[in-house]
């Protein structure tokens, strides 16, 4: 069956690019290199017969070359830029961006559905590009501009796309709607005249169990038309 052209490694790459240490000339940290580094650390520790430092133990092991900051496993403080504001978060490094948005920042518009990047319901923007927030750690979103559905508009001041969703009944239960809206606005934001095929590609990774896709396409076309007539 047809599936999303969404780059499966996109979150991974953003994580690699998101390393704040990189700006300071420090070593790069990505989840992949972190895991590699952690594996190497464990292997070295095993070879030398040295136990890794336990929580609350003595001095932690010095970082192995090639790894960077060690965070967690307990909660750490960090800042996120969300919908134009800086928010301070205290969360374990293992917490996903979706988890922080919903459970720490109260931004429950972003939905948890499949929990593995398969359905698009948790789509948010990272520097304007769509990412599945269930597949990304919150700490990897530091130093990026995060936009959630709440950042697009509120019920009393919806943007053109949100208005079009209402006008065209582009939702049934509404649970896929935030992800659909974020995916569409990211893909079509700079496109004043999207074709139905471009709209379909934009939401190819967004699953709607109610089967409301035809009206979503109509809404995206209507929103583009409304934007053109304003321009």
């Amino acid at each position: 069956m047809s599936r999303s052209p969404r780059d499966p490694l996109r979150n991974e790459r953003i994580a690699a690019e998101s390393d704040p240490a990189a700006d300071e000339g420090g070593p790069k940290l990505s989840r992949r290199s972190f895991l590699k580094g952690a594996g190497a650390a464990a292997a070295v520790a095993g070879l030398l017969g040295v136990k890794p430092a336990a929580a609350g133990g003595a001095e932690p092991e010095p970082p192995i070359a090639g790894t960077a900051e060690r965070l967690g496993p307990g909660p750490v403080n960090f800042n996120l830029r969300v919908n134009g504001a800086t928010r301070t978060v205290t969360a374990e490094p293992r917490v996903t961006l979706l988890g922080v948005l919903r459970d720490h920042l109260g931004l429950t518009g972003t939905k948890l559905v499949c929990d593995r990047g398969a359905c698009g319901a948790c789509t948010v923007h990272l520097d304007g590009a769509p990412v599945t927030s269930c597949m990304m750690l919150a700490i990897d979103a530091r130093n990026h501009e995060i936009t959630t559905i709440e950042g697009l508009g509120a019920p009393d001041r919806m943007n053109a796309l949100q208005n079009a969703f209402v006008a065209k009944d582009a939702l049934q239960c509404g649970f896929c709607t935030p992800g659909m809206t974020m995916a569409l606005s990211a893909a079509l934001g700079g496109n004043p005249n999207p074709s139905p095929a471009e709209i379909k590609r934009a939401i190819a990774g967004n699953i709607c169990r109610c089967g409301t896709y035809p009206h979503v396409i109509e809404a995206a076309l209507a929103a583009a038309k409304a934007s053109r007539s304003r321009a």
Binding site: S2, V113, D115, F175, A204, N206, I207, Y213
Partner: protein, 603 residues
Amino acid sequence: MIKVDYAPMPFVVAMEDAMRPDAPAVFESGANVGSPHVNETGNVAAGFESAEASVDAVYTTPVQTHVSLETHGAVASWNGDELTVWCSTQGIFGVRDDLAVHFSLPPENVRVITAYLGGGFGSKFGAGHEVIIAAELARMARAPVKLMLSRAEEHVATGNRPSSRQHVRIGAARDGALTAIELEQHGSGGIGGGSGSAAPYLALYRCANFRTRERNVYINAGPASPMRAPGWPQGCFALELAIDELARKLNLDRLEMRRRNNPSPVRALEFDLGARAFGWDERSRTPKSRGPIRRGVGVASAAWHGIGASGPQAQCVAYRDGRVAVRIGTQDVGTGTRTIIAMVAAEELGLPLRSVTAEIGDTRYLFSLPSGGSMTAPSTTPAVRQAAAHLKGKLMRLAAPALGASPEDLVISDGVVRVRAEPNRAIKFADLCRRIPGDSLAADGEHVPNYGGYSMTQAGCQFAGVEVDIETGIVRVTDFVAVHDAGVIVDPLTARSQVNGGIIMGVGFALFEDRRLDPQTGLMVNPTMDDYKLPGVFDTPEIRAYFVEVANGITNTGVLGMGEAVHVAATAAIGCAVADAIGAPVRDLPLTPDRVLAAIGAV
């Protein structure tokens, strides 16, 4: 600290294995195969005797899961012996009653709130283990507890559409008139029953001689629960494919075959409308391409009975500041209930829609039924309309002295109350509301028992077009025409959304969906949304919906529920179109490339 000891037990997860005499027993007492539920009329043997042609074939359908995007679960919070639960449910009052029984509380001590829910499709009735566990934990923790199931838990434990194995025999006379239908059906809803799929065999076509025997087969798997027209999509798939096979034997046009056995005058009209819109005559007679892409068309009949029932009560309230609220303890499972309730109240009160607020999803409001079986629109709108009418009567009595007229001489439209004979004598609704003594004026309404009406069923039909790549076996559904009796359409937008959704869910059942259990471990091997395949936007055909608004006279709104009627025939129409495209039926769902290639003898 919880310590669990596990002991592996013999188990069985395939229906055919569970039917063997030496199969492990699923229950300590009772057989794996239930006793048959039989429906019989006429003389089936004589019917087959008189048949010019007959079909004898076995059709199977897999277990389908609901995959509501929001999983089951709740937030539970206690205040003394009062429990409040925010729950993803299709039936707030059912959840309330389950919790009241479990905790031995009077029902009024339990409040269930469902402002919105992320889909249900029949799986979210009653409290369920997860909601009771959340409430138990909240009581022990003396704190609110949130418990939402994971996607895998949702797949395994919250219900499914049972599988089916349908052995169909069907015979017809030379003119296509059905002479006999016989169904031997087995189906498994895991440790649950309710697998029967005979209903469409009894409802869709005229046949004097039929016998259906339905049996539940139990396996060690999660229990079935209702799913969008329980039994119907399975039954329609097998029956409609068999009808097509029979029409071919009789060299009859497949639509004509259906016309000749159709008992519904409404569907007769719908067949004509749909055939014209779809281009049936031309498309069904177009010779097949000799290239790799083969086009096919199919048609299938739909029926349901979304006529609603009594029970719902509604309240309409006008406030001194001009606001109007309509409150009813229903819930919007995604069908647009909130929208159409406001529309009905606004229309009855002669107000613009924006001035009416619909408030639903709270057991503090008056009772309404669970949202399932296409019951909600036809059950709630009559209560809402009556409440609005009663409120209008009170408002007219309030307006009468101000306008120097009697209440029965007043009319209200576009937010203005006027004397019927002298429209210039008028008072704006907002000004009238300022005359309300105290804070507000309220009136209740109820769904009175359905009137006799013209018909207690609703007819429909759907036409499907497909393209099959005979080199890869991949099926693409290109387009659909759906023609349905929906009574009075309140909101064409939400009605069309139901049609789109019913057909797209039918695409999933036809092409992709299949719960797979590992015979070695008994576990579900595809409990995720990447392995359990649902249709996406590129799998969605072009859909054209036509509504035949039958003035049925059933209630004061004449509204019918749509959710099931638009779903029952979709998979069948696709199956028939695929058989047409490749010249051979694929009798097992889903219609995967391997099965398509096997049907044409390519593998």
